[in-house]
């Protein structure tokens, strides 16, 4: 165990609706969707047509830029519909699932006997390559590149996030297999970050063939980007890969069973989730499959992921590839008389002392999606670094992004950040600036100009 890294800055948002640790439902999928929009900058190439039969693990999409990167169907069934948006942009491939799941057999493999090339080949063919994310920029890893190192965060701090200990119980052996496999793709080793508060309580400290780091602190201490920043910052020209525990489990299963098995336990959470708990499901399941968890979909927001970084997918939407959490919130589209002028607002949380929620530190709040104000220019400049445990100047980086000034973006650390790291800055911002969008635009500019 290396040195413990204590992160002072951060904030745990006290939102209600944590999922009870039991599995309330095993979802038999009806229609599931494969969404190219889950991957930044992906230009997809469609490999199937409506009416085609697919098995779990059959390729459905390919990356137009490097066509050996494939995206697989999570279930076996028939391609029901290809949904396109503006300018015929491919949004979803919907697959009507069979009652009984059949898997493509990729063959059981012994990782110890495989070379790096064989491992890459196996992941690419089976459609699990997109599980690897490259930093900088958070795009799908480039198979041609050898990364400096691979980073895995083995704990979560995001609001209401699914507990990895609960969702991945029994998957330790698969995760170990995946770690062994990925370790061959880099010289820098696989870095695993654990929460020091729960070090002995989690089974993941038993993983071998990894370099362990421990972290302590509030959200976003569990973000892999924050961890990389403290373990080995990304400099210009360097590439590292990140992968989640969830994806490691799937990769391990591919080698151990020969199947593309992305089944997962999904936490259904949020203030408007009735009896929040876990379900057994797949990526791409429809929100209709969890209708036991809400009364009526009207005026509710369905988020694939957590409240800070997730995607608003709507009541008809489908869970994202990387997500194992659904958050259900009420839309806050109502007026509040004299809200900001009232001395007390007991139903609202604020991290600032201008309100009194610091008096009730244990209280959980039924948050909704109201913006609580109007957009303004940056005025307060010290609120952001209090929730960003990185040695960066957040306002300067954001202003460089707004000004499309690439030199300054580089200088202020665009290589080290993704939207998720700035999500709390956006949450606390009294000027109500859409900070994550600024970072998204900044990264898009970097991708356009630098790659």
């Amino acid at each position: 165990m290396s040195n413990n890294i204590y992160l002072k800055q951060g904030l745990d948002i006290p939102i209600s609706g944590v999922a009870a640790q039991n599995t309330r439902k095993v979802i038999t999928p009806d229609v599931v969707a494969v969404k190219p929009t889950d991957f930044r900058g992906l230009v997809p190439k469609l490999l199937v047509r409506e009416g085609d039969r697919v098995l779990a693990g059959s390729p459905v999409l390919a990356d137009k830029m490097s066509q050996n990167i494939l995206f697989a169907s999570p279930v076996s069934g028939t391609v029901a519909e290809v949904v396109r948006g503006e300018k015929r942009k491919l949004l979803e491939v919907r697959i009507k699932a069979d009652e009984k799941q059949e898997y493509v057999d990729y063959g059981v493999k012994r990782v110890a006997d495989m070379s790096a090339e064989q491992i890459k080949e196996a992941l690419l063919t089976a459609g699990l390559w997109p599980a690897l994310t490259q930093r900088p920029y958070g795009i799908i890893a480039n198979p041609e590149v050898k990364p400096k190192a691979i980073f895995v965060s083995a704990f979560t701090t995001a609001p209401l996030a699914a507990s990895p200990e609960f969702t991945l119980q029994g998957d330790l052996a698969d995760i170990q297999t995946a770690v062994d496999a990925l370790g061959k793709l880099t010289d820098g080793g696989v870095h695993l970050s654990l929460n020091s508060a729960n070090y002995s309580g989690t089974p993941f400290h038993k993983l071998t063939n990894v370099i362990v780091h421990t972290f302590e602190g509030k959200h976003p201490a569990g973000n892999v980007g924050v961890q990389i920043h403290h373990i080995s910052p990304i400099r210009k020209g360097e590439t590292v890969w990140t992968v989640s525990l969830l994806m490691l489990a799937a990769i391990g299963k591919l080698f151990n069973t020969g199947k593309y098995d992305v089944r997962r336990k999904i936490a259904v959470t949020g203030p408007k989730a009735v009896n929040p708990a876990y379900v057994d499901g797949y990526p791409g399941i429809s929100m209709k499959d969890i209708k036991e968890f809400y009364e009526t979909p009207e005026n509710l927001r369905f988020i694939s992921g957590d409240v800070l970084t997730g995607t608003n997918i709507g009541a008809e939407g489908y869970l994202g590839f990387f997500d194992n959490q659904v958050t259900i919130l009420e839309e806050g589209n109502k007026y509040e008389l004299l809200g900001w002028a009232k001395p007390f607002r007991p139903g609202q949380f604020s991290s600032s002392r201008t309100y009194f929620s610091w008096l009730t530190p244990k209280k959980k709040y039924d948050m909704d999606t109201n913006l609580h104000g109007g957009p303004r220019a940056f005025v307060l400049n010290d609120v952001y670094s209090k929730v960003l445990p990185m040695e960066l100047y957040p306002v300067y980086l954001l202003k460089a992004c707004l000004a499309n000034d690439i030199d300054k973006m580089e200088k202020f650390g665009i290589y080290e950040v993704l939207e998720e790291d700035f999500a709390l800055c956006e949450y606390v911002c009294p000027s109500k600036i859409d900070i994550q969008q600024i970072i998204t635009d900044g990264i898009a500019l970097m991708l356009k100009e630098m790659c």
Binding site: I15, S232, P233, R301, V307, L308, G310, N312, T327, L329, G332, N333, K334, Y335, E336, L337, L338, G339, W340, A341, R345, Q348, S350, S351, S352, R353, T354, Y355, M367, D368, T369, N370, L371, H372, G373, G374, R376, A377, V379, L380, N381, D382, V383, S385, E391, Y393, V395, K411, F412, E419, A423, L424, E426, Y427, V428, P430, K432, D434, Q436, Q437
Partner: protein, 391 residues
């Protein structure tokens, strides 16, 4: 409550784009959002947001200024009573006189300033920014009570238009708008901003025209009307030290009472709206140069007198800490604050032309704050790059 909401919803279309009064859209929006937190929901990024907004932040600063304002109103009347020997004046007479003198300053400052803000928001199609709520609260507190209202109106217009709107409004300005108002008055109408007759309500008028609101028996014998800065010697100020702390001395409306200002400082620091680092370092800077001057014989006042005289503390707590115009980096705040305090006392001690240096020190440091930040950030990036290379 819902009746009010229904009324607002009913008249809203008139003020929307294309409505009969569409040209007042920003104004309507300002009043509506003043009454109601809007029903906008998050579209991008984080789906939930903290309930704090700039209105709440600004109202905290306004609240922090209330003790200084209330004391200022009372002190205006009290100084008038002392000057004219009105022995029969009780508390309410004093407050009434103070209100009669100070209220018009507030009305002018807010009408002119907010008027310009509303018009420019409408022209640029923005929402009205609440930053001026604070500026408007500050301006009457940092001018002499007898300043002619038309002068104040011109100065406010100058500060808001040239100091703020041309840069793009609140958040983009380089200099503190309230101090810019005072600087404009100071350099355009020096006779109304210095001397010994301007600091007490009614004295100027009595000297010029022989009348005042309550002339009584005329000015009392030995009336000086000077602020402590006019004659900063130990012999003069030692007996007045307690008066200077309580604030029962002539001066700009809201700056005299150390106690009232400290009450505001506690609120600002507790809520985290203003930086305690700037306040502490400014006090340290003032003390350092104050004691240096004492040591080399530039003054016979011990350094701590510099803190309680004139506008030092008011400037330190409310003006130097303006988050937009001060240094933005944490290390930069220490440097910036220290230099504000040090420069203010330097001007006092070594520049015979200006008895008070706080305004000039803050405006000068506002100008240099981006430079301080630049070097702090360069240094930090270089240090970090070195550390990463070694690791």
């Amino acid at each position: 409550m819902s009746g009010l909401r229904n009324f607002v919803d009913k008249i809203k279309p008139t003020f929307e784009k294309g409505g009969k009064l569409g040209f007042l859209h920003s104004t309507f929006d300002a009043f509506e959002t003043f009454l109601f937190v809007p029903n906008t929901v998050t579209r991008k990024g984080a789906h939930v947001r903290d309930c704090v907004d700039l209105k709440r932040v600004m109202i905290m600063v306004v609240l922090a200024l209330v003790p200084a304002m209330l004391f200022g109103i009372w002190n205006v009347g009290y100084q008038h009573k002392l000057a004219f020997g009105l022995a029969d004046w009780g508390f309410w007479n004093i407050v009434l006189y103070g209100l009669v003198k100070v209220l018009p300053l507030y009305i002018v400052a807010y009408l002119v300033g907010l008027g310009i803000e509303f018009v420019s928001a409408q022209i640029q199609g923005h929402e009205v920014n609440e930053g001026y709520l604070v500026s408007g609260m500050l301006i009457p507190l940092i001018v002499p009570v007898d300043v002619p209202l038309w002068m104040l109106a011109i100065a406010v217009a100058f500060a808001v238009i040239i100091g703020k709107e041309v840069f793009g409004g609140t958040g983009m300005n380089i200099w503190n708008p309230a101090l810019l108002t005072r600087a404009f008055l100071f350099f355009s109408y020096p006779s109304k901003m210095s001397g010994s007759t301007v600091w007490t309500g009614g004295v100027e008028r009595f000297v010029n025209e022989g009348v005042a609101f309550q002339a009584g028996n005329g000015l009392v014998d030995g009336f000086s009307g000077a602020t402590p800065l006019a004659d900063p010697t130990l012999a003069n100020l030692q007996p007045k030290l307690w008066d200077m702390i309580v604030g029962t001395i002539p001066g700009s409306v809201g700056e005299t009472s150390v106690i009232a200002i400290l009450l505001g400082a506690i609120l600002l620091i507790w809520t985290g709206v203003a930086s305690w680092k700037i306040m502490v370092s400014s006090v340290l800077g003032g003390l350092a140069i104050g004691y240096l001057g004492y040591a080399v014989g530039a003054t016979d006042l011990p350094g701590y007198y510099q803190l309680v005289m004139g506008g030092f503390l008011f400037g330190t707590v409310f003006m130097a800490t303006d988050p937009v115009t001060s240094a933005q980096t944490e290390c930069g705040k220490w440097i910036y604050g220290f230099l504000v305090g040090a420069l203010a006392v330097t001007v006092r001690l070594w520049n015979p032309g200006y008895p008070e240096g706080m305004m000039l020190a803050i405006l000068l440091m506002n100008t240099f704050a981006p430079l301080i930040d630049h070097y702090v950030i360069e240094g930090s990036i270089k240090r970090r790059a070195k550390k990463v290379k070694i690791a």
